[in-house]
Amino acid sequence: MLLKKEILEKIIETALATGGDFAEVFTEETVSGSIQTVGGLVEKANSRKIFGIGIRIAHKLQSVYGFTNSNNPEDLLKLASDLSKSFSDELKTKALPLGEIEVGQKHKVLVSPLVFKQTEKVELLKKAYKAAKEYDEVIQQVMVNLTEWVQTILIANSEGRYVTEERTRIRLGINAIAGKDGMMQTGYEAPGTGKGYEYFLEDVNIEDIARNAARMAKTMLFADECPSGVMPVVIDNEFGGVIFHEACGHSLEATSVAKNASVFCGKLHQQVASPIVTAIDDGTIENGWGSANFDDEGYPQQRRVLIENGILKSYMVDKLNSRRMDHQPTGSSRRESYRYSPTSRMSNTFIDNGTSTFDEIIAATEYGLYAAKMGGGSVNPGSGDFNFAVSEGYIIRNGKIAEPVRGASLVGNGAEILWKIDMIANNLDRARGMCGSASGSIPADVGQPTLRVSSITVGGKKGAK
């Protein structure tokens, strides 16, 4: 299905005819599948074939993008020609010829979703169901879903870039509902991987993960409402990293920085965080959930140190936004599919290890909230104000973890919270997420060690302490 080199070159040539200075063809063929189980029974099974081609032309700060499901050369040349009509210059940039295709192969997959049997996938889901359901009698319902896809992309551009790679992702969603006396609470785990099924068969114990979802639902069922107010919050490792992703990561993407719309504009090489904070966005981690060989403009993914000892070192920059900034592209361009033109996005983003331990941080906190598990969140990059939900929380009292509390959310400001991180542990771990933004919904990894924010607004239903 993927296009021949000669056709790609012809499309690029057509695209540049009216003065464009950059042209790109993005071809995607994706095979995806999903299986949904409710109460341990398979209710739905769906397979999907995605195929499309996106053509992008840039002319200084302007860009045009179009896509189609057709791989007929005539249709594609017409699309390139239609798009080029947005510019009325004469030919200025001559495309470099495409050389040998470069094949990305850093992230090895042993048991591909394309070969692992449907029945074996179902077995995996049922195993997770059983472990969660049998955890406790208050577990009333368990839904386990599987999503998997293998995306094959091919990118060719007027600078002679010509690359292809195959990207595999598999994720399980385990949703446990605990109920008693008409009250219901949920627990959720969503392990995922950029490997094949070997991850679920060897690397992790799916039953332990499922039991954890059930444990969380049960804990929250018997938890009291969270008190509200300003207090210290200890945010645990793994998915706790969503705090940096939302509060700061989005504001470091060129999408907002290039337009001067971020609170971090003009702050490069300045202190923007407490000196114990080092934050990294690394798209090269082997088989990472947010990793790839190439970004979606065809340039190698990179490891980007964003903040080092509190000093802002780099933004995340894509090719076109780099034209508005005094900053090289950082291989950060990503998109959900051919239906989106790419822009700067995070990959695997995490705060690096500190020198404290988990126990030291809890012991040093007289009263506060321990956010053991975070839900999702969002940020307004213009003001930097963010929010996120705490899905499993506990009160810390006299330096000890005390009773569980539910329904908490945290609100704050991205630029301010970085200054308020006053303790960081040495237990860095990462977790999987899906990030929705300008170029669609993409797999993004978040991570951090356990850390403490000295004061932040905690919202809860119980009211002030």
Partner: protein, 437 residues
């Protein structure tokens, strides 16, 4: 041709009934930044969902290529996926209803054929008005998006249905700045009549509202009476719209389980699903299963009157499908909270000590549709004795969705369809828990 061949091969392979659902989208989007056309996107794309019953179970395959060489793969994959289904649910392909509503006014040819340059001019004009509206406006992003959606359903029971709708939206986001603060404002209008766009009014409102929030600060935690602006309330309704699905109820994943016929809201609350709503690109005369859509009251004067059904959930509950089978699951088409008769100002005047909430954030994570609990970041203004005061930010408003529906005291008459596809007015509710300082 593709469809006929697919049906033929599927039946031959032992699939008893087959249905295809074809979705074609023709899209245009325009973005202007700093007075310049920054982004221009066009596309024409299709996708097809094929469902087939094999040995009583439903297999599904979706594809974006309708190439005859793919037919064998489609048939085999449908059989393979049907084989792993072990839920006892009955698989059904629908023979059709007697009548389907005519939806002629949902497609406006004029909008589709209007010269692109006029649309670009309109966006540039809005961009210029944003910039000119106030010296504190620092950054503006203005956009226009238009789509024409054609859906077609055909099955081996002889049903063949077709809908065509188009719509567009125009709007923008501004960042306003003073010496000490930076805030944003955003709004857009969705319509399929280009004449509805009023750039002067839109730009003035967005900038005025944004400027008013400069200097917004948290307020002390406590219980406050709340008026939700229509946009903010639409976000809340959207976060909880899934609880009306009978599928969620059957799974035990809706807090409305067992509440049919009981009072779940105050007498002011009448919530409807209107699949024929004008100027909505979501409107349809049939659902993805081929069932005729219908206007229905989900909640009438506070009483829960029906859940939303597809063929499967209806069969389980021994009712008829409400025509809400979309995307393999159950969802509302155009959810609308019917308006009351107060102006927004009157609602605000009812507040003794409270907050006029203009925006809530984080509904995708901070709202739990199983428990009904929510705790959301909010922005707005302090209101004392009916008078709007200082701007408020970085607070959370927490509650339970059902409790909040019961605490609705009055509704505005300023109904609007928001970005999330929910139509509602501004709403006055009793005291809620606010976390701030």
């Amino acid at each position: 041709m593709f469809i006929e061949k697919l049906f033929e091969k599927a039946i031959k392979a032992g699939i008893s009934d087959v249905q295809v659902f074809l979705n074609n989208m023709n899209e245009l989007s325009i973005e202007v930044f700093d007075g310049q056309l920054e982004k221009y996107e066009i596309s024409d794309s299709s996708s097809m969902v094929i469902r087939g019953i094999y040995q009583g179970k439903m297999g599904t395959y979706s594809t974006e290529i309708m190439d005859e060489s793919l037919i064998d793969t489609i048939v085999n994959t449908i059989i393979e996926s049907a084989k792993i289904i072990d839920s006892p649910d009955e698989a059904m392909i629908y023979a059709g209803d007697k009548e389907y509503k005519e939806l002629n006014d949902l497609y406006n040819e004029e909008l589709k054929t209007m010269d692109v340059s006029k649309k670009i001019e309109k966006v540039k004009n809005l961009d210029a008005l944003f910039h000119a509206a106030d010296p504190r406006v620092s950054i503006v992003e203005t956009m226009y998006a238009e789509q024409t959606k054609t859906v077609m359903l055909q099955n081996t029971k002889g049903l063949k249905l077709f809908n065509k709708v188009n719509s567009s939206m125009l709007g923008g986001q501004v960042i306003v700045k003073n010496e000490t603060d930076q805030r944003t404002g955003f709004d857009l209008l969705i319509t399929n009549d280009f004449n509805d766009y009023n750039n002067e009014e839109l730009s003035r409102k967005v900038v005025e509202d944004a400027v008013k929030t400069l200097g917004a600060k948290p307020i002390p935690s406590g219980n406050y009476e709340i008026v939700f602006d229509r946009d903010a309330f639409g976000i809340l309704l959207s976060a909880f719209s899934g609880i009306f699905s009978a599928e969620a109820v059957h799974k035990g994943a809706s807090l409305l389980k067992g509440k049919l016929g009981s009072t779940i809201g105050s007498s002011h609350v009448t919530l409807v699903d209107d699949p024929f709503m004008k100027k909505s690109s979501r409107s349809r005369s049939f659902d993805d299963e081929g069932v005729a859509t219908k206007y229905k009251e989900l909640v009438k004067e506070g009483v829960l009157t029906t859940f939303l059904h597809n063929l499967n959930t209806a069969k389980k509950d021994q009712v008829t499908s409400t025509g809400n089978g979309f995307g393999g699951t159950v969802s509302a088409v155009n959810l609308a909270l019917l308006p009351g008769n107060h102006s927004k100002d009157e609602l605000i005047k009812m507040i003794k000590n409270g907050i006029y909430v203009t925006d809530v954030q984080g509904a995708h994570a901070g709202a739990n549709s199983v428990s009904g609990d929510f705790s959301l970041q909010a922005m707005g203004f302090v209101v004392k004795e009916g008078v709007i005061g200082a701007p408020v930010a970085l607070i959370t408003v927490a509650g339970n969705f059902i409790k909040m529906l019961q605490d609705i005291e009055a509704l505005g008459n300023d109904t609007k369809t928001g970005y999330y596809g929910i139509t509602c007015p501004s709403v006055k509710v009793g005291p809620m828990v606010v976390a701030g300082l």
